[in-house]
Amino acid sequence: MNNEKVLDLYVRMLRIRRFEEQVGLLFAQGQLPGFVHLYIGEEAVAAGVCAALRDDDYIVSTHRGHGHVIAKGGDLNRMMAELFGKATGYCKGKGGSMHIADFSIGMLGACGIVGGGIPIAVGAGLSAKYRGSDQVAVTFFGDGAANEGSFHESLNLAAVMKLPVLFVCENNRYGEFTPMEKVTSVRDIALRATGYGVPGVIVDGTDALAVYEVANTAVQRARNGEGPTLIEAKAHRTGGHAEGEKAFLAGGVYRSAEELAEAQAKDPLRILHSKMVQMRVVTPDVLEALDQQITQAVAAAVNFARQSPDPSPESIYDDGWV
């Protein structure tokens, strides 16, 4: 992998991280309506996969979707405005955190229903094959969604039709607050690929370089007409299921302090940062300058969102039937 690609991965992750840190802060201050699910700790998955895609490839995301939009090249201003429910947001204030889409970059939508986006990605893959393009479609989903019927139906359908689809399971070990081992019949979701006759690959989801390599192989396979791959990225979320979850979690914590510390120690951003410095990809100064630049862009996005107008109540019937 050349230095440029490594830096590209880092930039995608850093944009996600700084954006989400700001979102967490705004939520804690009570400035955001609704609720938000942060991706902090899982950035290497979105960045690694999206770096292996072309601009015209498709992704379908989840309720924890900010990272996917940003990794695919989403606009921070329009994202932040959507989180504030403003008229300038990606969905004109009708989507919010869990339903952001940007069709201009092949981002076909985040989805508030666990497993709900999986078949839609299969359809995008079907459409790519039908049209004779060599586009690829990616569905991101969590370990919880791997227990939904939609996952099983979709994986089978994509496998029998040999569709160009990447099934990317972001295994952060918790379905909301329930640990995976209590509700899942296998230790590794990737094992389930065998049942559908497709390759199942496990990758360290905190290692962006490794995710990129695995995704790249799966993308080539898909483009060559060899069908889907199931990738299981073992990752950690360092925050809660949703921000502010302590407020409604009766009975205290569901994850031990040790486990959280372990998750935080495997910070994908820090891991890649030290690798880059070690590999002399760039000097720490360059990375520091980058950080400042991205931090400023996020601050600008907050200003943009704050100064944007609310949607007018008259717009409730807009964007219904064509």
Partner: protein
Amino acid sequence: MTKKTYVAAIKEALAEEMRRDPRVLLIGEDVRLGVFAGTRGLYAEFGEKRVVDTPISELAIAGAGIGAAITGLRPVVDLMFGAFLYLALDQIIQQAASARYMFGGQTSVPIVFMAQNGGGISAGAHHSHAVHPMFMNVPMLKVVLPSNPYDAKGLLKSAIRDDNPVIFLSPLSLTGMRDEVPDEPYLVPLGKGEVRRMGRDVTVCAAGAMVQVAIKAADVLAREDVAVEVIDLRTLKPWDEALVLDSVAKTGRFVAVDEGKPICGAASEWAATVAEKAFHHLKAPPRRVSGSDVPSPFSPVLERAVIPSVADIVAAIRQTMDEDRSVAADSYRARYAA
């Protein structure tokens, strides 16, 4: 003009649209063989790329159709029986119907979900549900329920050309119905009802299989010199409110007939709208004739009892005719003035 069956009309619509537009494809369970024959033979002309047999996976098929629709195709997803749509409800309601609105108009979802609807052939509870009222409750879905082969063809072609998600339901009991269907292409617009029979005394509103039943009821009452106007809505959402309200303004009486269940049903919606918007024209309260509030039973005797019959509709119309409020008010005034 040739007489063609309901399913033959559907096949013609599919074939014509697939020839006209290469983006149209048919996806579903056994569409190659065609359980209801409405898709049979299309495979021979269009091949497996465009007539796609799938696993029995309703949720995934529906979702795949949506993914295809938002990336440039115009899929028709055949899910066989209306009740099978229930297996795909998340995709139909939360994804297909919501996507355009939820994403601020960034995409549209030109998809048709096709299925048989309602009872009448002793198929039992799991294959006989009249599902249309549930979908009428979903914002941004269009719901079509044709009552004859001519409309089925013209409406299906319109549904395929429509840029919105459409639930296209065929009454199960009309599968073998034969009627005139022109060979030359034509469209029937979505959202427009049709007066099937003119009348001055009472307006009856129906759709799908209930239209023929309502017409038979009108025949019975014609012998008693009651002139029933029968409106076939054809599209249940959006529905032709103006046509119904105009008719009620003329007749002053209204009976809504629907095969679906009575609570929050299609007939409830029509009757409520008439009560709300045409109250001043009404000589009697609007009445509803709906299916009984039970899962569809198997026995032909029982099934006949739960689906609105000619006798049920005749009885409802007679009641309406007897309940002339202006007459009642006159007699009340006469009694207490004395």
